[in-house]
Each structure stands twice: as structure tokens, then as C-alpha cells.
């Protein structure tokens, strides 16, 4: 399978990429690791006529700890998160979740900015960033803005990112409080049928594949904050969620999974 024809330009830096997005408009797509976009283009589910390759912007690939935050450049690859010492010491959940994305070859190419921008509710890392209470830094023609991860995702493959904006950085609070990630699937390498990320001993709980976006399990967080037991709080995992229905699971099975996985994740994190 071969994608539909397109023109290809390498962006020298973020400003250049944003300028090119402005020039080409709706027809253009940024290309980072390509591990979501290229498969979609091969299936002709996406047919941009202009690709802007941002993967070579090396100054957007970094991991730094500053002022109690860990700042991660958008082009940082999953494999780098998995093996980085700063991540392991300051927010180990991110490294662990990265190590469960796809397979090693996927992790050699896929980027943190790409997986956030793609806004697939079945992706692993967006839920970890959400549970940590992270921030997405986006740059556009009029400068830079910071978007709380809780406000970023708006629907299946949709976010608040404007067409001429790009993600340049993802920031998460340094946090080594009790954490856990439960990814439920039936076959190696598969996406989560349901996943649950718990950060900061249960202060942040986020769900994978339980709706049209990655979700904060706010009812669980509130129950725990109010002194409720883990078992009782976990029962509320699917509250307000509209779980997707597909070949793997119907809504009631996903609801059950969310409750069980939330309980397991909370027990492991506390």
C-alpha cells in the first residue's frame, strides 16, 4: 500500500514549520515519527498533499528538569522516555508507560508530541500526561501558549490545537508519588482495550479508551480525596464515561474493565 501523492518539505526549526503550515493551510500535515500518520496515509484515511517533516528539529528533542517540572521536547521519542535517567528519577510513570507503547521498533520512531497531537483515546502516553496534570506547550504564528492537558483533548483525533499551531513541549510536574499503569489487551503489541494511569498516589487517575478522548476519572479522584476506600472509589471509574464499542469490547465490558483496572492500579500505587 502506498500513500496518495504529496509534496515533502523538511522544516529547519519550529518557526519554519509554523510558517509552512500557514502557507499550505488545510492541505498540510506535520510529520513527526510518522507512526500514526503514515499507516493512515497508506490506508488513505488521510491524504494530505503537503508533508512538513519536523522530526529533524533537533532542538525540540530534550528532557530537562526545571522548577519542579520536567520539560520534554515534542520530538522526544518513546524509546528516549523509556531509558532516560531524569524521567526515571522525576516521573517514572512516563518512562514505564512509554515502554508499553507498541513494540521497540515503534518506540524508536514515535514521538511524545506526535502521540499527544494525534489525540487517539486509545493511546497510552496521553493518559499518563493527563494523570500527572501535565501541560501542552503549543506554538503558532502569534507566539506560544500553554494548555492544561485536561483542556487539550476534545474528541476522537481532535484537540484544541489550531491548524497553524504545533506542539513544541510537554511539561509534567516532577512526581514520584505512588503510581501505576494498567494496560489491558489480549495480544502482544496491541493497543489497550482499556487502560488506567494512576499518578501521585491516586490524586490523578486517567482512563484510556473509555470515551472519545483520554479521560480524567474525576469521580474516583473525588471519592479518594473525600476519604473513600479504594474499592468504593474504583466502582466509580466509568462514571460519566461513554465507552466505545468495537470488536474487542462492548460498553458494559469496558465499564467492568475500567473498574477492575482502576482498583488494581490504585492498590499498586498506594
Amino acid at each position: 500500500m502506498i500513500p496518495a501523492a504529496f509534496d515533502y518539505t523538511v522544516a529547519e526549526n519550529a518557526e519554519h514549520a509554523i510558517q509552512l503550515l500557514g502557507e499550505y493551510g488545510d492541505e498540510a500535515k506535520l510529520l513527526a515519527g510518522g507512526h500514526s500518520l503514515i499507516p493512515m496515509m497508506k490506508f488513505r484515511l488521510a491524504a494530505p498533499t503537503q508533508l512538513i517533516d519536523v522530526a529533524r528539529i533537533s532542538d525540540l528533542s530534550y528532557i530537562r528538569q526545571e522548577n519542579g517540572q520536567v520539560a520534554i521536547g515534542a520530538m522526544t521519542k518513546h524509546a528516549e522516555l523509556e531509558t532516560n535517567d531524569v524521567i526515571a528519577a522525576a516521573c517514572p510513570i512516563l518512562g514505564h508507560v512509554a515502554s508499553l507503547v507498541g513494540d521497540p521498533s515503534v518506540r524508536h520512531r514515535g514521538t511524545l508530541g506526535g502521540t499527544i497531537a494525534h489525540s487517539d483515546p486509545a493511546s497510552d502516553l496521553p493518559a499518563a500526561v493527563l494523570a500527572l496534570g501535565g501541560t501542552i506547550v503549543a506554538r503558532g504564528p502569534n507566539g506560544q501558549r500553554e494548555i492544561a492537558a485536561t483542556d487539550f483533548f476534545t474528541g476522537y483525533f481532535e484537540s484544541v490545537l489550531a491548524p497553524d499551531e504545533m506542539i513544541v513541549e510537554v511539561k509534567v510536574p516532577a512526581n514520584t508519588g505512588g503510581w501505576n499503569y494498567q494496560k489491558f489487551n489480549r495480544r502482544a503489541q496491541d493497543w489497550a482495550i482499556v487502560g488506567v494511569a494512576v499518578a501521585d498516589g491516586g490524586k490523578g487517575v486517567a482512563l484510556v479508551n473509555m470515551g472519545s478522548t483520554p479521560l480524567r476519572a474525576t469521580a474516583v479522584e473525588a471519592a479518594l480525596a473525600g476519604g473513600g476506600s479504594v474499592a468504593d472509589a474504583a466502582e466509580l471509574a466509568a462514571e460519566g464515561a461513554v465507552p466505545p464499542v468495537d470488536n474487542n469490547a462492548d460498553a458494559s465490558y469496558r465499564t467492568h474493565l475500567a473498574q477492575v483496572l482502576t482498583r488494581r492500579a490504585l492498590e499498586a500505587a498506594s
Binding site: 502506498i2 501523492a5 523538511v10 510518522g34 513494540d103 521497540p104 521498533s105 524508536h108 502482544a188
Partner: protein
């Protein structure tokens, strides 16, 4: 557009359409057909090559993304082992190729180039893996002859040989 890369130590510069996948470039442009296409949907790993020393599914990368990169395919692996002084056996192969032969880690052989490339990349990152880690390290590579058991044994044997 013009794309230049090194494949198994030789530089190749060719005119490609931007939509040309790296695997097609390697097979049809460069003319090395050891890299197979299995699923063509990023799942099976038959197309695995090394880009800058790391395993990549070449059906999920554009040739133009490999501009300036150093690519190793199954055809060049033994040569890298000879250069590193670690080639083994009568055939002077890479120790992983040798281990696959010794452990009967293939039946039809279709998945083998990808398995060997994924396994060599994996051992670079984890030189002393447990059996479970080997199975996870190869989770992006499918063998439809279900030869996983011997494939895992081969990787264990190559790891032990190297340590």
C-alpha cells in the same frame, strides 16, 4: 526528489517520489530483496531494518525520511559483524544469524530477516535479557510458522555467546 543514504556501507543517491516507502526503496531502488514485506500495516516486522543502528519497520517510514541515514539490512549484517570482529562460524556470519541456524529458529524463513534485525537491535539495548524480556523485545515481529520457541532460544544463545 533526490534522496541519499548509506545502505550496508555503500552510498546510494536516487530520485524518488516522496511517497516511496523505505522498504520499496530498499527492495526496488537499491535492489536488495532480503528485506521482506509481510503485512504492510506496521504489524509483522518482516520489513525490519536498522536505521542508525536501531530497528525500524521500513514499511512505516518514507525513503525521504532516511535522507543522510545509515541503513543496515539483513544482507549487510554479517559484514558489520566482520568489521566488529564478532563474526562466527564457517560462514563468517553475524552471531545472531549463526544462532538462528544452530537453533533451527526458522521454518519457511519469511519472518527471519526481520526477526534477526529486530533481535540484534534488541540485544544492543539489552545485552543480558531474560526469556520474558526477549519475548517482549520481539513482540513487533510475527512468525506465522509459530517458531517462536526456537527463535527465543536463538536470541538467548546469541546473548550468551556475546557475554
Amino acid at each position: 526528489m533526490q534522496v541519499s543514504m548509506t545502505v550496508n556501507g555503500d552510498s546510494h543517491s536516487r530520485d524518488v517520489e516522496p511517497r516511496t516507502l523505505l522498504v520499496h526503496h530498499i527492495r526496488e531502488g537499491v535492489g536488495l530483496t532480503g528485506t521482506n514485506i509481510g503485512c504492510d500495516t506496521s504489524s509483522c516486522g518482516a520489513c525490519t531494518v536498522h536505521v542508525g543502528g536501531q530497528s525500524v519497520k521500513s514499511c512505516t517510514m518514507l525513503a525521504v525520511q532516511a535522507e543522510g541515514e545509515s541503513i543496515t539490512t539483513i544482507e549487510g549484517l554479517a559484514e558489520t559483524a566482520r568489521a566488529d570482529g564478532i563474526a562466527t562460524g564457517e560462514q563468517n556470519w553475524h552471531p545472531m544469524q549463526e544462532a538462528f541456524q544452530q537453533c533451527h529458529a526458522l521454518q519457511c524463513g519469511y519472518c527471519t530477516p526481520g526477526m534477526v534485525m529486530a533481535a540484534t537491535s534488541f540485544l544492543k539495548e539489552n545485552p543480558t535479557p531474560t526469556e520474558a524480556e526477549i519475548r517482549e523485545g520481539l513482540e513487533g515481529n510475527l512468525c506465522r510458522c509459530t517458531g517462536y520457541h526456537n527463535i527465543v532460544k536463538a536470541v538467548q544463545s546469541a546473548a550468551e555467546g556475546a557475554s
